[in-house]
């Protein structure tokens, strides 16, 4: 059987390389990444399969996959990769692309986590842990999640009731605004 490859399937891998410097095309499927991955048991497409899909130019499949959302950036894969691919940087780029291009994020709780986290940092300059946990539980539609832990942590002096706002909140807001401005100017 003859298979005619009409288009350049490496365009997607090159796009990723241009964004983060990592050349996924060098992956030869040794599968060390997946073998060491603590989250592989949750991923529909395993890490090595994701690398192969990128090589094949399967942009849609990759950007809508759940792989990078289960990745906890533990760096085991990148440390063991014989081709020195910094796989977590690839995961970060894929997450950023999926976010910015409006892909449905298959692990909704993780999407909520990132949004609520950054909302807290932008509002106060620091993470307001208690507010963050409560806000996240509301997003997860499980407001009483960890309700048993709250009082224990509070009694131990591990939770602050009020956020600690930084004094120069203006410069924090400016930082976030400047990042958005610069990124929008490049789209």
């Amino acid at each position: 059987m003859k298979v005619a490859v009409k288009e350049d399937t490496t365009a997607f891998a090159k796009e990723i390389q241009q964004k983060c410097g990592q050349d996924v095309l060098t992956c030869y499927q040794c599968r060390k990444c997946t073998m060491g991955c603590p989250m592989a048991f949750k991923m529909k497409m395993k890490v090595n399969e994701l690398m192969r899909a990128i090589q094949l130019g399967l942009r849609e499949e990759v950007l809508s996959s759940d792989t990078m959302w289960w990745c906890v950036s533990c760096e085991t894969c990148a440390t063991r990769c014989p081709q020195d691919i910094e796989i977590v940087e690839v995961m970060d780029v894929l997450r950023e692309m999926a976010f910015k291009e409006g892909y449905y994020i298959p692990v909704e709780s993780i999407e909520a986590f990132h949004k609520v986290f950054l909302r807290s940092v932008e509002a106060y300059g620091r993470l307001y842990e208690m507010g963050f946990a409560m806000d996240l539980n509301l997003q997860l539609k499980d407001p009483l999640k960890d309700a048993d832990l709250g009082p224990v942590m509070f009694a131990k002096g591990k939770l602050k009731l009020l956020p600690h706002k930084v004094k120069d909140l203006k410069s924090v807001k400016k930082l976030f605004e400047n990042v958005r401005k610069l990124e929008e100017s490049r789209v």
Partner: protein
């Protein structure tokens, strides 16, 4: 020895005892910490998942402030903060365009003169094991410690540039220097699930259960950690782990600095020992 000090968000609340015990240990060993004024969050674990530029700009602000303080070394006890600060510094050095973008965002230049230091590294290599041994007044004789390094203390090696990546021993060396025994075990660098514990709790419990099981099987009295997320993931949910897997470990999870502080003669209050969830007093009772 003077260092800029970046506590980070967790050390202000859920990991207050890490902050207290680090400050105590530094006092005993002559390490002077000057807190970065009005520091902001480093953006871990979310900025790098949503915007690369934001993930560099947030920690870069702290690096710029450190330069303004006239200091050239910064200590970040939280390993997530440490990694974000290091990545920001290294990427700005390697990528001229990125550095320019960050300087535009921050509206401030960065000379690149700051060295980001891991606190274990400072105790081991700046203070030194000999001085640590001499500072001990209450050796933790007989205490069996499982040293848990987690992910980012040694990984990825080109960023962490610290210790053996698959079988680290720096924390073991410190624990032995204060008189404790350390156990050999296979889970030193396994992942605790990090932020997954909040968004996908059940998934994180699978990982923490394995780590606690490993520590127990190795005969440890307690686990020593160097990261707020490792500590809270292992400490906070042992009841939930028991309910899910049928094993109640009752394993105290302590910051290495809490144990060091105690050995140096600090009170339990000084190192925030009462703040950890699984009661450590029974295993420390004899000391």
């Amino acid at each position: 020895m003077k260092y800029a000090y970046y506590p980070g968000c967790s050390l202000e609340s859920s990991a207050k005892e890490y902050d207290l015990s680090i400050r105590a240990c530094c006092q005993y060993t002559g390490v002077e910490l000057i807190e970065v004024p009005d520091w902001i969050c480093c953006g871990a674990s979310s900025a790098h998942a949503t915007s690369h530029l934001l993930s560099i700009a947030l920690p870069a602000k702290t690096l710029v402030q450190t330069e303004k303080m006239g200091l050239h070394q910064i200590i970040a006890p939280c390993i997530a903060c440490l990694t974000r600060l290091k990545v920001a510094d290294m990427e700005m050095e390697e990528k001229e365009d990125l550095k320019k973008d960050v300087e535009t965002v921050l509206e401030s230049p960065y000379k690149g003169s700051v060295r980001v230091r891991n606190v274990l590294d400072v105790f081991l290599n700046d203070v030194g094991l000999e001085k640590i041994r001499k500072t001990v007044t209450t050796p933790l004789t007989g205490l069996k410690v499982a040293c848990y390094y987690g992910c980012l203390l040694t990984r990825p090696p080109h960023i962490a540039q610290f210790d053996d990546v698959e079988n680290p021993h720096s924390m073991d060396d410190l624990m032995r220097a204060i008189g404790a025994e350390t156990v050999d075990w296979s889970f030193k660098t396994d992942c605790c699930g990090v932020s997954m514990s909040l968004a996908e709790t059940d998934t994180a419990l699978v990982l923490t259960n394995k780590i606690l099981e490993g520590a127990k099987d190795a005969g440890a009295d307690c686990v020593a950690v160097a990261c707020p997320l490792c500590q809270s993931n292992l400490d906070l949910r042992q009841k939930a782990i028991g309910n899910k897997f049928g094993v109640f470990y009752d394993m105290p999870i302590l910051y290495f600095s809490q144990l060091m502080g105690l050995a140096f003669g600090a009170t339990t209050m000084d190192v925030g020992l009462e703040k950890v969830i699984v009661d450590p007093f029974p295993v420390l009772g004899a000391i």
